[in-house]
Symmetry: C2
Subunit: 314 residues, 2 copies
Amino acid sequence: MNKISKLFNIKYPIIQGGMIWCSGWELAGAVSNAGGLGLIGSGSMTPDILREHIHKCKNSTKNPFGVNIPLLFPHAEEFIKILIEEEIKVVFTSAGNPAKYTSFLKENGLKVVHVIANTKFAKKAEEAGVDAVVAEGFEAGGHNGREETTTMVLVPLIKKAVSVPVIAAGGIATGGAMLAAMALGADGVQIGSRFVCSKESSAHEMFKQKVLEAKDGDTMLSLKKLVAVRLLKNKFYEDIAKKELEGASPEELLELLGQGRSKKGMFEGDMDEGELEIGQVSALINEIKPAKEIIDEIISEFNQAKNTVSGVEL
Amino acid sequence: MNKISKLFNIKYPIIQGGMIWCSGWELAGAVSNAGGLGLIGSGSMTPDILREHIHKCKNSTKNPFGVNIPLLFPHAEEFIKILIEEEIKVVFTSAGNPAKYTSFLKENGLKVVHVIANTKFAKKAEEAGVDAVVAEGFEAGGHNGREETTTMVLVPLIKKAVSVPVIAAGGIATGGAMLAAMALGADGVQIGSRFVCSKESSAHEMFKQKVLEAKDGDTMLSLKKLVAVRLLKNKFYEDIAKKELEGASPEELLELLGQGRSKKGMFEGDMDEGELEIGQVSALINEIKPAKEIIDEIISEFNQAKNTVSGVEL
């Protein structure tokens, strides 16, 4: 049995990435019902809202699901308490030091997975006692590493660096890419952008449509002087890019960024002034479907691609 | 039989990328003798030197080999004449408009492959009549596209966009990555960085050593305001990066760049002031070997990875 399926007691080693404003209980529940692992993205929630999503997710599925917590987030500690009270079994941590909470979380019965983008943090996470790492490449949407290492290079590097299971993320929206990730040594995959364009995602319809229209070159890693984030190009992105080309300071960029940009874009549908986080793989996404159909399609493509490469005789 | 092996009449669908200062007749001949397709990298040669390398390559192998020509290069037209006079059968063109010479080259009996980094140029190349395209991702060393699309995303995109065979490049140094490229839809692979660290490469020994020592995060896409190029970090890179952060103009960057930087670094071994072009995958390269051993190892890893993924039942 696959290491990741076994670790989480799920049918397919497919994790739905926890994404701000896009992955509430409805998406997480649907993915878990379809045999993957759904994650509630807590990064855009208040403690009350997180608790509500956990309750609704429990009601929507009998299967395991988890919560993603960005550790640098102001509510992180409160969220961890909520997870323990609610007897959540799986947490994906990101954007912060894995040494801080991992042992505490594990003592309280949670499986802990940390998201990394380089060898150094993969080793740190392993030393902290995580059950697995997500190796997230440069092509992924949203927050991203400074090293700009792509999935193709990062996955085999991390596989060599640690002995815990490795979940590949970044650039994966199809079964072919899932097979590619496994050929690189991954034990499972985390998929974000593709699930933004699911029926159950809480992304604004305007944002979903804009993702469907995206072509290659339409996303770019931005705001590297603050926290690097991959954005879909729009007026807000262009304003930032212009400032950056002129050599703007972190302070100037923070001022332009202001407050509430991601909610405005991804949740409220302001396509000009909002921040739109999505991966490069948006160029390959052309349809909004229910999460179950997405997963079934990925598995069918995976098996097809497996048959194709099995036939290559070298 | 594999489309790329058939197109070039070679044993394995492995192309050795044409690289300035690193891939002369000795490397190209060794790769072709080992069953891949060796390419002489003409971008750092004068017409006389190119002719000499072609003669020596003909003497070193009975198998097909080719020449890479960057079309924006001042000698491009003269090089094309030499290829025809010398009855070369394969040319890889890059960095320029594929419409300019493709029909002329094909009328003169050459197979023509054009290197692209986006959908638009892949379609342009197909319309110009090329026999195949190289889809080169962001992680690749040396000159690179502006869109920053990674191999993981670019290969399936290009596969959908054109019907000619697709050769994946960028991030490929092992048989596992070769299988991953094929799972993404590639018909063959082009490998550069790994062959820089071959016994037969003409890279300076100091440069080869520095590539072996490279870790993740040690290369970066640089000089985006001129022609984007992936560089190994050194003093020269840091000087450029500092200027870029301050918002330097293309003119200021050109002045800092000066003349002969790549020769100084890659061929003459000046590790501080020279320009060192290499891919992200340098982080996975740990040994200098003869080209034949590299190819044999890649094929053996490919078959091993194929067996592993064949066993994944989903």
